[in-house]
Assembly symmetry: C2
């Protein structure tokens, strides 16, 4: 006899309201991608599923602009890909340089420390990015074996240039790991040309897919470092040697490694197909144009940006400074209650100081921007009227 | 300009055929659960999503028959839950006893070794299980701090009794981890009553949900061991301290930990709701009755079972010995090609020697069993006619 009774709440229907997700992610999935989530399951080693995995692999190679054989999707959300990078590339003997332009560098440093490595962080003031010259100085001074950089920093809304950064790292005998979770598909990214050794992203940003399977790719240099470890990878689930075999990247017959997230892989396939149909150049252009339209609207409202230099702004996430006398949360609540639109707050150092507006994939359209600007303007006006004058 | 061109294969539609998955999992998801996969996304910290997480937590507590506060779903497939158990409960100073009745004990031993612990395995002959007496002897001899047992061993099709096993472990100052991936919902399980410290399962077996979020629960004893570690957990993604906060299990305000797999959580909620509606006792009874019906059909075909003692058979996975002169793969191929029914082969030691027939959740119905038996009979006859007589 069951001693813990049936929970009442599970006898009611599942309640999922429709919202327009204009925060830093997840963004809304397109109807095509949502439909893939309702397709029947296949076995994780069935030939039809392996064909889909192969398509996903090719789609990631295109999105990353890489020919790397070791290219696959990790069975987890963006953090899982970050951890895959950390636990495969780092062991206690490594020196890790984590470049911090927001919380993601901090997060990677945390993961690297858990692998027992010596970790050095360099940190930029909120809303700023590093020059390649500054990074080269750090490489010379710290002599890391692994450097981590966030391309699209969703917490500070900055885009750290990584052009040719891998080539620079290699000059100093260092592996370069780049997080492009928030930037992929919106900002040019050339993994091979720029010499990036490990690149990963998430599903729920520009790809507009429900999170659950996260693209990652290893260069030959990264793969060699993984294969010449002195200690085993601390994680079985994220061990790239096993994953590369399951994904058919090592030329050996595929063996059962773990059960893949079937429906998440369907969704990722459709997200990558949507990007392939639009084409990378067009997707980059659309995100730049949408960001410009948003910037103009924000400027017309006399609001200011956290990232002053437009060149360093991340088009997918715009951080708008909350004006004096306004409670950010009240405005976000207003916008959600009246328009069912998500307008996010800050994260990390930017918490309480900014709104973060997301323009990603399926959601990056002029109509959505117009709606968001109208809602934001109304929200601020309502809030300014509500709060007692400070004269 | 993109240098890696658009992959042709992504410009074609996604192809997912409909199959009846009668292997050891994934099983088919019900229409209700598939529909949940197409629901719009929510933010991973939106109040409506947190309400769904709370429902999932209550559903797991019911399915596990536990009142443990630290009960949640890990953001990955079944292996991710296994790794969460390993990396939180084990550090280098631990001695781990892994009880092997098939490949899952081996897998856990692998994970435990990666955490730097001393690992001892005890192994039963294929198709057999341990008595509590034998396990007590091992506890006395090895003096482990952590013992791992697989309840439903999908590779050998055995069900290892775990009744009161936790109470036994506690007598020897040992923590008990139980894998019920293949058994939950089909065989009685009383986490609290039996003193199990860590219990986890997958989504794609009896719950009939697409894999991607995996239930796990920690007893107070397991939680205390986690909180008194001398070394940090090697994984950030699987660190239960952060996860327990995100899932509202520690009484503190929820903080962002990682992005949860939104749609997988919807699916899991619907799978747990389906189990709650049927009721555990009825689900246990249905699986037992279906297994009995399958056993009768197999016996009528004069086929034999890998697990001779019916008492130790796992109702969700039945291993049928391949008769002499028959190639298992030819029969499986026949059944798939003609009926679109999955009839799996063996795994680990049982590879090549058995078919494994799954009866799980939505798929555990008399109609499916009749279809499978008919297809298997036909497949074997066809195969026996095809192969030259060995007279």
């Amino acid at each position: 006899m069951a001693e813990v009774p049936v929970p009442e709440c599970l006898l009611k229907p599942l309640y999922v309201p429709r919202k327009l997700l204009m925060g830093p992610g997840p963004s809304n999935a397109s109807p095509r991608i949502l439909a893939a989530g309702a397709l029947p399951l296949l076995g994780h080693l069935h030939p039809e599923f392996i064909a889909i995995m192969d398509e996903v692999k090719k789609g990631i190679q295109y999105a990353f602009q890489t020919k790397n054989e070791v290219t696959l999707a990790v069975s987890g959300t963006g953090h899982a890909a970050m951890e895959t990078a950390a636990c495969n590339l780092i062991e206690p003997k490594d020196v890790v340089l984590s470049v911090c332009t927001g919380i993601w560098g901090e997060r990677f440093a945390d993961m690297a420390e858990r692998q027992g490595a010596k970790v050095v962080k360099i940190t930029k003031e909120q809303g700023q990015v590093f020059s390649n010259q500054e990074l080269e100085q750090a490489l010379r001074r710290i002599q890391p074996t692994v450097m981590f950089v966030t391309h699209g920093e969703s917490s500070s809304a900055t885009c750290q240039p990584v052009n040719d950064l891998g080539i620079l790292c290699h000059k100093y005998g260092c592996i370069l790991i780049v997080d492009c979770v928030a930037s992929l598909g919106a900002v040019p990214m050339y993994m091979d040309k720029w010499g990036i050794d490990v690149l990963y992203t998430g599903a729920q940003k520009v790809l507009s897919v429900s999170p659950g399977a996260s693209p990652i790719s290893f260069s030959e240099r990264a793969w060699k470092k993984t294969q010449s470890r002195t200690k085993r990878v601390t994680s079985f689930y994220f061990d790239m040697t096993g994953l590369a075999n399951y994904w058919g990247c090592d030329g050996q017959p595929r063996k059962y490694h773990h059960t893949g997230p079937i429906s998440s892989i369907y969704g990722l396939r459709e997200g990558l197909a949507t990007l392939a149909e639009e084409g990378l150049e067009q997707s980059w252009k659309r995100h730049a144009q949408c960001a410009d339209m948003l910037y103009r609207g924000i400027e017309e409202m006399n609001l200011r940006f956290l990232v002053e230099n437009k060149e360093f702004r991340l088009p997918t996430v715009t951080a708008v400074l909350v004006p004096a006398g306004v409670q950010w949360k009240n405005v976000s609540n207003y916008v959600m209650e009246k328009y069912r639109v998500e307008l996010a707050g800050g994260l990390g150092l930017s918490a309480g100081k900014v709104w973060r507006i997301g323009l990603m994939g399926y959601n990056a359209t002029p109509d959505n921007i117009r709606l968001l600007l109208r809602a934001l303007r109304e929200g601020i006006t309502t809030e300014q009227t509500r709060i007692p004058s400070r004269l």
